[in-house]
Every structure is written in C-alpha cells, then in structure tokens.
Amino acid sequence: MRFTLNGNPADVAAHPMARLLDVLREECGLTGTKEGCGEGECGACTVLVDGEAVCSCLIPLAHVEGAEVTTIEGLGAAHPLQRAFMDEVGAQCGICTPGMIMAAVTLGTRPSLATIRTRLAGNLCRCTGYEAIYRAIRRP
C-alpha cells in the first residue's frame, strides 16, 4: 500500500483491512499514536489523513492509499503546540496528548474557546479537566 507518511513516500506490506493504527505502530514503527479504546471514542489515535483529523483505529489501510498521512512524529519535537502542552501542563500523563495535538493542529490560528471545545469533543482526557489544554492551545 502506497501513501505519503509524514511527508515521505511509504510502501507498506500489510493486509488492506489492517487498522491504520496498527500499521503505523507496528509496520511503520511509529508508536506515538496511541490506542485508548479501539472504538473511535477517545481520540488518542488521532492522525491527519489529507489534512483531516480521523481516528486511526477506525481506518482500514486501504483507505489511505495515495493519501497524505501525518502522525505526531510528523511534527518533530519543536512544534509550538508541543512546547505549549508541556509548559501549560496541557499534558499530564501524556497518553492522550499526541491525539490531542493532532486534533488541535487542525484548529488554525487563534481558535476561540468555543471552537476548541466543540472540535476537541472527540478527544478524551482523564487527567487535566481540559482547562490546561485550552490554555496550551490559546497560548500566544
């Protein structure tokens, strides 16, 4: 299966119905994307496919053929959101953080609090109560 992964061409031998989450974590060795539920409820497995946030635990590999897939690793380690999440304590245990950041990346610049709350309703966090996540995303 050919697709673009974090800006680079990828060619992965895996079953077309394998979950994208498993392919990323195992065949591609990128363990930054996490499994929290396997139901598409928690958002910890969020990646971007053609710029849209999706739950990779629900995507069959065949659905990303020819697409651009971006994972948390694609942001490197110096994206301003990453720094903000650590400094503002938007990440406590960190397990929801990669998915949260990938979802947040789609919010554009200076999103309103209402927009953040609505668009991140599919990303569950059990540690923070979300307040620090808002602070991290809205940090100038």
């Binding site: 406590q92 990303n123 966090c125």
Partner: protein, 717 residues
C-alpha cells in the same frame, strides 16, 4: 492567593528558588512528541502475546476445562503451573492468581494463553464446564463481610437526648470506572535466570512482592520497572500485581517475553472499580444549628475478594462525619462480599462516597432547621483546637473556614443563591477534607525509604514513587534542588526500577509529596551537610560517589490506636470547598454544569501549575462521578464495558473550573506541603447535587442521571 506561574522554559533558576515556581517539567518533550514509551510501545525479540481465559458465571465451581484448539505454538498456563502460592498478595491473601475450582465472580482468570500470532491467540476456544451456584449481588444482603468497624466519640444517646431536631437520610453512590486513557498492560521478560516486568504500574514494589509470593524461592531475581504510565487514579495500584503475575507465568513457561495489554472492554469488565456505597445518617442538632449527635452507617460493596476494601472502609468511615465538630459520634461500617469483580483503589478511596453523603445530609439538616446551610457549616466546621471523630485535635493547619469563606467570595454564592431561585439555574456547595498519607500506623508499617546520590553532573533521586501525570519527578526534583541549594536542572530522577531504587512505598494516598518528598528533603539536607560547601558535581569529581538514604520518621506527636480507631488518623489534612452552578433542562432532566469553583488548601503548592492541574483534573473526574458515569451491572458484570456506553466527560460536558490554591502550611511537610492528589475528588458530587437541590429536586444518589432528575421533577410537582 491565586496560583502562581513560574518563569518560562529554558530559564535558569536562582539557587533556592525551584519550590513554589512552575519550573520546566522533568518529563521533557516526549509526551508531546510521541517519543515517551508506554507499555504497549515496548517490543522485545521473540515476544509473545498473552490472553486471559475468564469465567463466565458469577458463582459456582469449575467441573472441567477442555482446550479446543491446535496447541502448536501455544503456551498454556493454569494454576498447577504456579510454584509459589496461588494468591495475588496484598492485604488479605484471599484472591487466587488463577482459579482452581471455586468461582466467585464472572471475570475470574482461569487459564492463560500465549502465542506469537495474535489472530491465532484470539481465535483459540476453551470450553469450561461449570456447576453454577447461587450468586450474591446485593451488599446489604450478603452473608459475609471483609471488615467491620466501629468508631465512637462521646455518648451518642446523650447527644440525641439533647437534640431539638433529628434528621435521617440514606445516600447511595455507584461504581466508578477509572478510564485511564491507557489500559492496564505489562511486558514480562525473562532475564539472567530471573524475570523483569515492564509495565503501567503505580507501585512497582507491590508487584515485586506479589511476584515473589507467586513464584516462590525458585525465582530469586525479580525486577519491576515502571514504564511511562497513561493515568492511574488508583486503578493501577493493586491490579497490576494480578496482570504481572499472569504475564510472568507465561513468560517463564515459554522462556520468551510476553506482552499482555488489556483492550478497553476487558479492562473495564475485569479490573477494579470504585466501591459502591450506601451511607445512612441520623443526626441530632439543636435549634440554633449545633451538631450534637451523629450516627453514620457505611456499607461498601467489596466484590468477590478483599483487595483493599478494609482500608477503603476505614478511610471512608473516618471522614464520614464530615469536616465538622460534634461531641457525640458513632460511625459503623462494613465492607461486604458480593459475586462481582473485586472493587479497589480509586482516587479518594472511600471519601468521595462518604463526603457525598454527609454534605447532602447537611443541606437537609439546614432545610429542617430553616437555616442557611452555609451558616450551619460555619457554625460546625472544625477549627484549630477542635477534635475529630477519632479524637484528633486540629492544629493551625486546619483550614475548614478559610476554604469556605474563599469559595463563597470567589463564586458569588450568596448573591447567586438568591438570584437563581425559581429559575432554571441552581448553585450549591460542599465542604470537605482529606487525610494525607496512609491511615493511622500505615506509614510506620511502610517504612518508606528514598535516596539522593551524587552524579558527575549533579544529583540523582532514587525512589519508587511513580510519575503518571501528577508531576512526581518534577516536584521531587524541586524539593531536592532547594534542599541542596543547587540548580533545579542539575537534579535528575531515576527510573523506578526495583533493582535500582529503594522502596518508597506506593504512589497513592496523597503521600508522594508530603511523605516521600519529606524523606527526600531530609536525605538532601543531610547530603548537603556532607558536601561541606562543595557543589555536588565537584565533590563527585574529587571524592567519588556518595549516596544518602533516609527512612520515614513518624512525627513524634502522632498517637494512634488501630483497634479502636482513636487518635491521630492522619498527620494532616487537605481542605476544600466547591461551589457548583448548574442549568437544568426541564424537557430532558439534563443537568448542565456551568461552572465549578474549587478552593483547596494544599499547604504549599510546590509546582503551582501542576497543583492546579491536579485540582482541575480531579474536579472533572468528580463531575463525571456525579452526573455521567454509570456502571450498569447485569448478572454481576458490567454490561456497558465500552467507552461508547460508559461516558466520561468530554470538553463539552466539563464546566469552566476556577481553582484557588490556598497555602496554610503543615509544618511536617516539605516547605509546608500537604497532600493534594485525592482531595479534589470529594467536592464536586455533593456540590452538584446540592445545586440540583437548589432547583427543588431531592436527589440522594449518584450518578444523578437525567432519568433520575426527571423522576424527581415529577415527584416535586
């Protein structure tokens, strides 16, 4: 005082200036970059995957087990493979690691399978034939208790005789599931004639001790290493001992690493939950609002095995009369057996249950008296010099009235209480406290130890305290840096690996800062004396390694009688007052939490941003407990074991949370710090239900689901 922010990242701190600032965290960037390694991220050569075959009836006996799959490539483990004792060692060693014949709940582990191929592993069929028994599901009609207790103060009868009013009430709380976003998981790896376990674990030494019991003297080298852990909340306090035992048994039999990561459904179904509770109050009060007699009965549902139920009961009971003074109190409690998966530790550990009951009951007492419930609380709140139900005398570190006053002020409570009357909005409050550290003599028994040693670049902290989001690494490093008068970024924190660090006790019970941080502060202080003025790295260069280990020392003033529950139950308490504002949708019974003000006294906020994060997170978890989280039990098992059906708060369910941190120091804590991890769990449920009361609806159990609210609306019409 509001929380304070430290300087930004990358700044050097003046020596002696880490505590009290929101310094850059020791976790680095890994959590935000995806490079932090959690249990399921680990891969070992030759690794197998493990699976648990579980019982399917709640009660009875196993007659036969038949393997209905091609055994090629499989490792199969049953109870006969256990060389040591077939128990998951904890308080009372009553829970088997693998079922022998007796079945006591519907998710007990019977057989373990391992295979390289996960599809083959999951496809394997095992046929178990049972002789079903008659299960017990109602804790109030159970024939057996794990623990009974009585706590008495004064003379109850005399108290009731002097009362002008007597108010009674029964309050109920349900199960709560932790929903750490990372499920339970471990990897067991044979090594050097022994075994290593990497896992999502709060208490590595609990696991080490449980494995030693399970494996017996044949396996002498057992090493437990905590991986980056995606949330704990108590759900990874005792359960990992069971899971690690399973993975280790498979790994030793196969001679290969075995990874066992629960999926969400198995985790919710089979692992521990918060104990449901039924709390009955009977209270005598004078017409001017003084509490003169309190009788409280606490029943908790322990599930099929004891686990930590005796201690949950003890802590819940000790707090059951609330943060109030009353001369005559009798608290009875029992932890009951039922044929359900055992319940266990969950943030708050009995207090969210009893705090809910007493704070809603106080509201009803006020109504019976025709008195403002704030005045009732002010009149009876504990003050320095007052004694608690166990006879403990409050010191200057008692902050009940301060948190109440601050919460009233910050939230505009009185004004809104009037303004909201007769509208679709309600406002309510709850006053609460939480004992820090293990109950009674628990800390003495733990005899925790922690070390500070020199390195070529500074110092290293060695403790078994685990980081799982609450900021352990960071906060310990701040304390040690200041005690050594050295830069914070020259302090590193060792990985909790039981072969490298001393046993600092479990990371639970709001003790990690106050108790373990206190031990580290003493170790660092002694180390500083030994350095004779040299910077640590310089001393290391000249004289070589140096390590100081210190052990817990109980404050000399503490007196505690374990059998009668009398004396100083805890070294100190955290204090809190929550004010909740809600809007009721009368069409649907949905209660929308609009704002939650949480005022907490934490003694000293070592890292203000982390402390604030703990209060915000615990408050949100309390909102879920109060309004959303409902474990549906059918035939003794959770019927809604999916995140689609067990709902925790999303962004849109979580109100704005305003946190105020007060600092009324506990002299025995590092820089005056008390514990705070569990405190925020106790306030939201009663505050929210009291806000619902303000709307005229009498609810006495949680979760306050829309179904119950709508029914209460019908009753009140």
């Amino acid at each position: 005082m509001a929380d304070r922010r430290g300087a930004g990242p990358g700044e050097r701190y003046a020596v002696g200036g880490a505590v009290g600032r929101s310094v850059p965290r020791k976790d680095g960037i890994g959590k935000a970059s995806g490079s932090a390694r959690y249990a399921d991220d680990l891969v070992f050569p030759g690794m197998l995957y493990g699976r648990t075959i579980r019982t399917t009836i709640p009660c009875g006996r196993i007659r036969s087990i038949a393997l209905e799959f091609d055994p090629a490539g499989f490792t199969v483990v049953g109870h006969r493979d256990i060389r040591g004792r077939n128990v998951v060692a904890l308080l009372v060693d009553d829970q088997p690691c693998l079922v022998e014949t007796d079945v006591r709940h519907g998710a007990e582990p019977v057989l373990l399978l391992a295979h390289e191929d996960r599809e083959k592993l999951l496809a394997a069929r095992v046929a178990v034939v049972y002789e079903p028994g008659t299960p017990v599901f109602d804790p109030e009609h159970s024939p057996r208790s794990f623990k009974d207790l009585v706590i008495e103060k004064g003379t109850l009868a005399a108290g009731f005789a002097s009362a002008d009013f007597v108010v009674e009430g029964t309050y109920r709380t349900g199960h709560q599931e932790h929903v750490y976003i990372e499920p339970n998981g471990v990897v067991a790896v044979p090594e050097d004639g022994g075994i290593a376990v990497y896992g999502s674990i709060q208490c590595p030494f609990y696991v080490q001790q449980a494995l030693a019991t399970l494996l017996g003297p044949a396996v002498s080298r057992i090493r437990v290493i905590q991986t980056e852990t995606g949330g704990g909340f108590g759900g990874k306090e005792e359960y990992p001992s069971m899971l690690a035992g399973h993975a280790v048994l498979l790994a030793l039999k196969a001679g290969r690493p075995v990874k066992m990561i629960y999926d969400r459904a198995e985790d919710m179904l089979a692992t521990t939950k918060r104990h449901p509770a039924i709390v009955r109050h009977r209270t005598g009060v004078t017409r001017d609002g003084r509490l003169v007699a309190m009788a409280v009965d606490v029943v908790i549902d322990g599930g099929a095995y004891a686990t930590l139920s005796p201690v949950v009961l003890a802590r819940g009971a000790i707090h059951a009369a609330g943060p109030y003074r009353c001369p005559n109190v009798r608290i009875t409690g029992r932890a009951m057996f039922t044929n359900t998966p055992p319940n266990g530790a969950f943030r708050g550990f009995g207090v969210p249950q009893t705090a809910f009951a007493v704070e809603v009951h106080m509201e009803r007492i006020a109504e019976a008296l025709g008195m403002d419930s704030v005045r009732l609380r002010e009149r009876n709140a504990l003050r320095p010099g007052d004694t608690t139900v166990t006879g403990q005398r409050m010191g200057q570190d008692c902050s009940a009235r301060q948190v109440l006053r601050a919460a009233l002020r910050k939230s505009g409570y009185h004004r809104k209480r009037k303004a909201y009357a007769g509208t679709d909005r309600g406002i309510g409050l709850a006053l609460y406290y939480h004992g820090c550290g293990f109950t009674g003599s628990g800390e003495v028994r733990l005899a925790s130890r922690a070390s500070v040693e020199l390195t070529a670049t500074g110092v290293r902290i060695l403790s078994s305290s685990t980081e799982f989001g609450q900021g352990t690494r960071t906060m310990h490093a701040q304390i040690v840096a200041d005690a050594l008068a050295m830069p914070y970024d020259q302090v590193e924190v060792a990985l909790p690996d039981t072969s490298l660090v001393p046993d600092s006790g479990p990371t639970v019970a709001s003790r990690t800062c106050m108790i373990v941080g206190g031990i580290l502060e003493r170790a660092a202080t002694e180390l500083r004396e030994r350095l004779g003025g040299l910077p640590p790295a310089e001393y290391f260069r000249r004289h070589g390694p140096l390590k100081v280990t210190r052990q817990y020392q109980q404050p000399e003033w503490i007196r505690w009688d374990e059998t009668s529950f009398r004396g100083d139950a805890y070294a100190t308490y955290g204090w809190g007052c929550d004010v909740a504002e809600v809007r009721l949708d009368r069409d649907t019974g949905e209660v929308h939490p609009l704002r939650l003000t949480a005022v907490t006294d934490v003694g000293k906020a070592i890292h203000p941003a982390l402390a604030r994060g703990q209060i915000e997170g615990g408050t949100a978890q309390g909102v879920g407990y109060a309004l959303l989280e409902h474990v549906v039990m059918r035939e003794g098992l959770m019927a809604n074991a999916q995140l689609a059906n067990y709902q925790i708060p999303t962004t849109l369910d979580t109100p704005r949370i305003d946190v105020i941190l007060l600092e009324n120091p506990y002299p025995g804590g590092p820089s005056g710090a008390k514990g705070l991890g569990e405190l925020p769990m106790n306030g939201p449920a009663p505050a929210l239900v009291n806000a619902i009361r303000h709307l005229g609806l009498d609810l006495r159990s949680i979760p306050a689901l829309p179904e119950a609210v709508l029914e209460a609306m019908c009753v009140s019409r």
